[in-house]
């Protein structure tokens, strides 16, 4: 039991070495190789996934950048449109005001003209009525031109008095 038997020792060593070669070649070797291949595959898959993640991140950053660019551009265009709108509004309002002013002035001019015409007409009528009344009161004919001159003189005096007032 405690002694060493050389034949047994050699047999044990040979048994062990043969068993080691057989078991490794047919069972553990293929299994270990498969484990190593799997480890490599997992590593490469993780690396690929990491690369994919990086690409996605860069695309996302690019997308955000583009989006902010587009937003900035849109904001600028909206502001420009608002500015142009306001400018156009101002122009339209100014044109409208000028037009209104012109219309107003024209209306005033027309009104003044109308007024002058009406006044002239009225003066004509008043003078005629006054002549007719004068004729009736005097009962005799006074020279038509004299009457008219008298009447015109009178009206002019009345107008001057009114202007002085």
């Amino acid at each position: 039991m405690v002694e060493i038997n050389l034949a047994l020792l050699v047999t044990q060593v040979v048994t062990f070495l043969i068993a080691m070669v057989i078991v490794w070649k047919f069972f553990w070797g293929p299994l270990t190789k498969m484990m190593q291949d799997r480890t490599k595959k997992i590593s490469s898959d993780i690396e690929r996934a990491e690369d994919g993640r990086r690409v996605v991140e860069s695309l996302e950053a690019e997308y955000h950048w583009s989006l902010s660019e587009i937003e900035e551009q849109a904001r600028k265009e909206i502001n420009e449109a608002i500015r142009k709108g306001n400018h156009a509004k101002e122009e339209i309002l100014q044109d409208a005001r000028k037009e209104a002013q012109r219309e107003l002035e024209k209306a005033r001019a027309d009104l003044t003209l109308e007024r002058a015409q009406v006044i002239n007409g009225l003066r004509q009528q008043v003078s005629e009525i006054s002549l007719a009344a004068l004729e009736k009161v005097l009962g005799q004919g006074v020279g038509r031109q004299i009457q008219k001159n008298l009447l015109d003189e009178f009206i002019t005096e009345v107008e001057q008095v009114e202007k002085v007032k």
């Binding site: 039991m1 405690v2 002694e3 060493i4 038997n5 050389l6 047994l8 020792l9 050699v10 047999t11 044990q12 060593v13 048994t15 062990f16 070495l17 068993a19 080691m20 070669v21 057989i22 078991v23 490794w24 047919f26 069972f27 553990w28 070797g29 293929p30 299994l31 270990t32 498969m34 484990m35 799997r38």
Partner: protein
Amino acid sequence: MSAVAESVEFHLPFDASVIMSILAVGMIVLISWLGTRKLRPVPTGAQNVLESILGYICQLADDMVGPAANKFYPLFTMLFFFILVSNLMGLIPGFFSGTSRLSTTVGLALIVFFSTHFFGIKTKGFWGYVKHWFGPVPWWLKPLMFVIEFISELARPLSLAFRLFGNILAKEIILGVLALLIVLFLPSSEIMLKLMSVVPIVLRPCIVLLGILVSVLQAFVFMILSMLYIGGAIQVQEEH
């Protein structure tokens, strides 16, 4: 020859340790076949268990031996499984551990011893390898250093062999003695002796459990020390 009557070898006229070793190898082949008969990328069942153990041993070898560890995977894995199965076989009634024979343990230790020096010399060259034994000491201390290193190198296989042999033989003897006590006390007509048989009946399962622990531990220790020795011999080359 076995010292205890429980062992089948006790009744045989020859040393059956080689038969036990061949049986151990047969069991390893059976376990390996069960674990690898349908290799799947996603392991299940026996493949999962085998992969876990092999993966752990290979990882340990990588850590302790370095980049060249893959050359020694077969040796380390076979050492662990062979010693473990041989140790555990001694727990089966009638069988005994092949590793409870000095011829077996010395054989295993010599395999590690020669592997260590063979690969050390192969990696570094003969003089480069031997030069390391003189150590980084003043020239007048170098002969003493060489003697110390030489004795230390010779002591390694001895310690490997006797540690395993002593532990497993002790376990076998205790189990055998307890079995013998049960056989002696239980059939006895005396009440006292009958009562005393309770002690070995209770104690034997405990020793079997302890035996399982010792079996795993000794297989692991033998494998780790082998890695350490071979790793040390190879890493000497890398240091210089």
